[in-house]
């Protein structure tokens, strides 16, 4: 009974992960990240992911600003930002975000402003979804870690 809540939490986490994998939101790279986490760096995943959030939001803001500019849309800069976003997304396993970036980049290389705007919408959407799901994941993880520190069974629910 002691570990009941912890087991439940772990099951929830696994379910959430499975869901995200199934949807293609995350890919195996995320598992790699998790494997890199160990006693010497117990918060590795959440640290990296938080940096990723900060960076991505900055890049998305920049992209939005670049696209709003009607007269001189700087597609090259957009390409650079996208490259950054692609790199960081692929490093943490944010599969869908990365794929949208690829489409976006295709649009920017064709100087297709309408296409870029659409792609940006999708990108922001995907990013938000990813962020909320990852927050959930970390919440569960936190609860699990907290729960693991408790020696006596807590009240269920």
């Amino acid at each position: 009974m002691l570990g009941f809540r912890a087991d439940r939490l772990r099951a929830d986490m696994n379910r959430l992960l499975a869901l995200l994998f199934h949807q293609g939101v995350l890919d195996e790279q995320f598992l790699q990240l998790q494997q890199l986490q160990d006693e010497s760096s117990p918060n590795f995943v959440s640290e990296v992911v938080n940096i990723y959030f900060q960076e991505s939001e900055r890049l998305l803001k920049n992209l939005r600003a670049l696209l709003i500019e009607r007269d001189l849309t700087d597609y090259k800069k957009m390409g650079n930002h996208l490259n950054q976003l692609m790199g960081s997304s692929s490093s943490i396993g944010a599969n869908r975000v990365r794929n949208v970036c690829i489409a976006f980049r295709a649009n920017s290389e064709q100087n297709n402003r309408a296409g870029c705007l659409r792609a940006l919408e999708v990108l922001e959407h995907e990013y938000c979804y990813l962020k909320s799901k990852l927050h959930e994941l970390f919440q569960i993880e936190q609860q699990r870690v907290l729960g693991a520190g408790v020696r006596y069974p807590m009240q269920q629910n």
Partner: protein
Amino acid sequence: MEAFDNRIIPLEAEEDDQFPIGLKVLAIDANIVCLRYLVHLLQKCQYKVSATTTAEEAIRLLNDEKQTFDIVITNVVRHDMDGFKILQVIGVGMDIPVVMISANDDLKMMKRGLMEGADLYLSKPVGLQDLKNIWQLALRKRSSRKRSNPNLSLSEQPAVEEHRYPIERVTMNQDYVGDHIINKLDDDNDNNNLVDSSSCSKKRPRVNWTKELHAKFVEAYEKLGEKERVPNNILKYMNDPRLTRENVASHLQKHRDTLRKKKASGVGKLGIQRNLYDKNPTKASTLYNSMNHMNKVSNLGPQFLISNGQGSQTWTTAGSCYPVPEFKQFNFPSYTSTSKPFDDDDHNQYFLGGFDEPINNSSYYPSLKTNCDFNSTSQIFVGHYAIENHTDDGAGQCYQMQFNAGNSFESLLMDGELSDIFK
């Protein structure tokens, strides 16, 4: 050959004991997420890592005599100093093996990197296994350094030069790489006998056809009329001390060829770019290619069904689906949304339908408000966001997302033009 072997194998005792543990690596990446990840990976391999995001800092560290690095890892696309330039400075100047990494797995760039002296070119995300093997590059470099020791007889030195040969390439315009290399080969055969191992970098000053230079050239080319486009005139117009008539002549010839090719293909640069994406090995593009074959169910991934107000609809795909065998047997409990991506609208919701046990325990999941501070315009499009089942199970592992259309002049939705790009 035996003499050769004997020279390589005995490394000094101190450096050999733990090798490759303790390999000194300098990691440079403008992207801090990737850098963090890379550093961690390298530490996992038990290398000694220094890391920075700026090229300036990196060069400072390299010039610092107190530490020497065995290997440098850098990324390619940067805003401060181009990765290829770093390659020149470090790979050529300091003779340290350089590994390039890039989010962009464009084959042309990879070839260029390798031709210009990179010892390895990896695509992001970098894996642990790739990094576990980079010590081999450092080892090779070390042993080649020993070989080019002045104690060696002259006859063995050309072997070293050939090894170093690719490093001498100067950065140049992508279109012209192939031809310039051939020219270089011819030059070197003449100069081979005169060169000793230490000064093989500058045999003949090469013309670096940078974008600015090329732009000047094109300007000159266009200003002069048909009959007057001779190398001498162009040379005079450009008025650049680095150029000789021969440089201009060969560049002119190439320029004419590319113009002819462009005319012939009729589509121009666009055509070339499309082909680039066809070769792109990422899953995304292969999915886009198979966009029209929706009946091929497996691994099709999420698809957008976009309709505009007039009722016409087109499918495009976005995102790919990774086969994840270990999760295939899962029956997912249903998730009703506790977290919404957009705080405001009621319309935007995720419907994750058709599961067995609901798991909406608010005691476990305090509802999350994620603040996505984006200044979204009102333009969103109608989408049916469907994901194919892995198992054709009636219990339905089908997710749908809906989001509303806004009215905006930009709402020409994903149509032929976009899908063309994905072909």
